[in-house]
């Protein structure tokens, strides 16, 4: 009873800036018993208990959308837990090779393209390893997650999970209240839902 009550009162905002399939994240939250609000409003985002920063698509056009709404200055200033997903995570980095675009500079790493010898996009299920964060509580080393991406963040001091696709790269990053995952927890079966749940419980 008390758990249900706390879930219902938790305010989760999914940043809506016209990038990609955010409906799936909203549905995933609902399956976990939470309600997500889609918003691009600065006050609404600032007042959230948790913020989810999604993104599917192309980096430079997504960044343009963030700039045109002032979200590019708002997001790095947020104090509550923020979870960037896929392109969301990449935009939280310093720079992306995709469209040669500057990022939000939260994570101190540059996003680059996979080796040309590999099949790109990296689409499908791959393992995450060397997990070190509370969002991976109860998640086994080498757990499978679903990914779809052509660019990646190399391993750096903020790496909290790695994935191997031709190279070991950052499958997740963390700096203070900011978390980023390259994979799609909302599409990664039970393991993904567990990771989302862990984030929502922070």
């Amino acid at each position: 009873m008390s758990i249900e009550k706390s879930k219902a009162s938790e305010k989760i905002v999914i940043i809506d800036y016209g990038a990609g399939n955010i409906q799936s994240i909203k549905f995933a939250l609902e399956r976990l018993g939470y309600t997500g609000v889609l918003s691009s409003d600065a006050e609404e985002i600032k007042s959230a208990d948790k913020v989810i920063f999604p993104g599917v698509g192309e980096a430079s056009s997504a960044m343009k959308k963030l700039k045109s709404t002032g979200l590019d200055t708002l997001i790095p200033q947020l104090k509550q837990p923020v979870l960037g997903i896929c392109l969301g995570m990449q935009l939280m980095c310093n720079w992306s090779e995709e469209g040669d675009t500057e990022g939000l500079g939260i994570f101190d790493v540059d996003v680059i393209h996979f080796e040309k010898t590999l099949k790109v996009p990296h689409i499908g299920w791959n393992r995450i390893k060397e997990l070190k964060s509370d969002i991976f509580e109860g998640i086994a080393e080498q757990e499978f997650v679903y990914l779809v991406h052509s660019f990646y963040a190399p391993v750096c001091s903020e790496t909290i999970a790695k994935c191997d696709y031709g190279v070991n790269y950052s499958s997740a990053l963390q700096k203070n209240n900011f978390y980023g995952v390259q994979f799609h927890p909302e599409k990664s079966s039970e393991a993904g839902e567990k990771i989302l749940k862990n984030f929502l419980k922070i």
Binding site: Q23, F27, V56, H149, K187
Partner: protein, 251 residues
């Protein structure tokens, strides 16, 4: 290592599954949402919904179905069947589809691939290609393989990749329904030509056929319908077999 994917395909007409299914546990054998949920729990890596309805209500019914699937299922899914415009794709993605697959519309208007890739990103654009051999030459076919074109399969494969396809779903009409195995030779040729993932379709009859599609056909994923719907092959058993053969698989 990235794993090889197993993808059950559900044929949909007016919001219901068409081909018979043999699932004792199903409360409603025609409910695609329930079937999708069962597949996601039994180890499917992705799902494909192929809409074959031809009614005026089609778009609305399909969007509603996509929404219900997205609300229920926690693995990725692709929607295809009669998609011919940016608006069609927008509605499906907005309702929660992860990817869309385009087929005849891309052949008739190849520029559509560029438009979709630019607007939504290539990762969600699957180009489905139906082909069969005519006098020793692989030719692209339309309307579920019924109408031949003059287009060479391998030329078309190269073109769709260049135009921005994120994945290629190749169905050999010569193999489809035969249960005699996938078109491994053509598959391997396609896979070697492109640097995007290739999904094999048409011909699955036993577990060995899937293994061959990955080893001989160099496919990244394999799709099938009836062998799964009629429980001739259990996905878990199939994956166990793949694992024994040293094929990377998500268990």
């Amino acid at each position: 290592m990235l794993t090889k994917r197993i993808i059950p395909c559900l044929d949909i007409k007016d919001g219901r599954t068409v081909k018979g299914v043999n699932f004792v546990s199903l409360r409603d054998a025609g409910d695609p949402v329930e079937l999708a949920e069962i597949y996601s729990k039994s180890g499917a890596d992705e799902l494909v919904f192929l809409d074959i309805s031809a009614t005026e209500e089609k778009r609305k019914t399909l969007a509603e179905l996509v929404r219900k699937v997205a609300a229920t299922v926690n693995i990725p899914f692709t929607v295809g069947g009669g998609i011919s415009s940016v608006e069609d794709v927008d509605v499906l993605l907005q309702n929660g589809a992860d990817k869309v697959s385009i087929n005849s519309a891309a052949v008739k208007n190849p520029e559509l691939i560029n438009e979709l890739a630019a607007k939504f990103g290539r990762q969600c654009i699957v180009v489905a290609i139906d082909a069969r051999q005519v006098q020793g030459k692989w030719l692209v076919h339309l309307v579920g393989g019924k109408v031949p074109t003059e287009i060479d399969l391998f030329d078309w494969v190269k073109e769709v990749e260049e135009r921005g396809a994120g994945e290629i779903l190749f169905t050999s009409m010569d193999h489809d329904g035969t249960k005699a195995g996938f078109a491994n030779e053509a598959l391997a040729k396609i896979s070697d030509m492109v640097s995007i993932p290739v999904i094999a379709s048409g011909g699955a009859g036993d577990k060995e056929h899937f293994c061959d599609a990955f080893t001989k056909g160099k496919a990244d994923a394999a799709l099938a319908a009836s062998v799964f719907h009629f429980k001739e092959i259990e996905i878990r058993d199939l994956k166990q077999k793949m694992k024994e053969k040293g094929i990377e698989v998500r268990m």
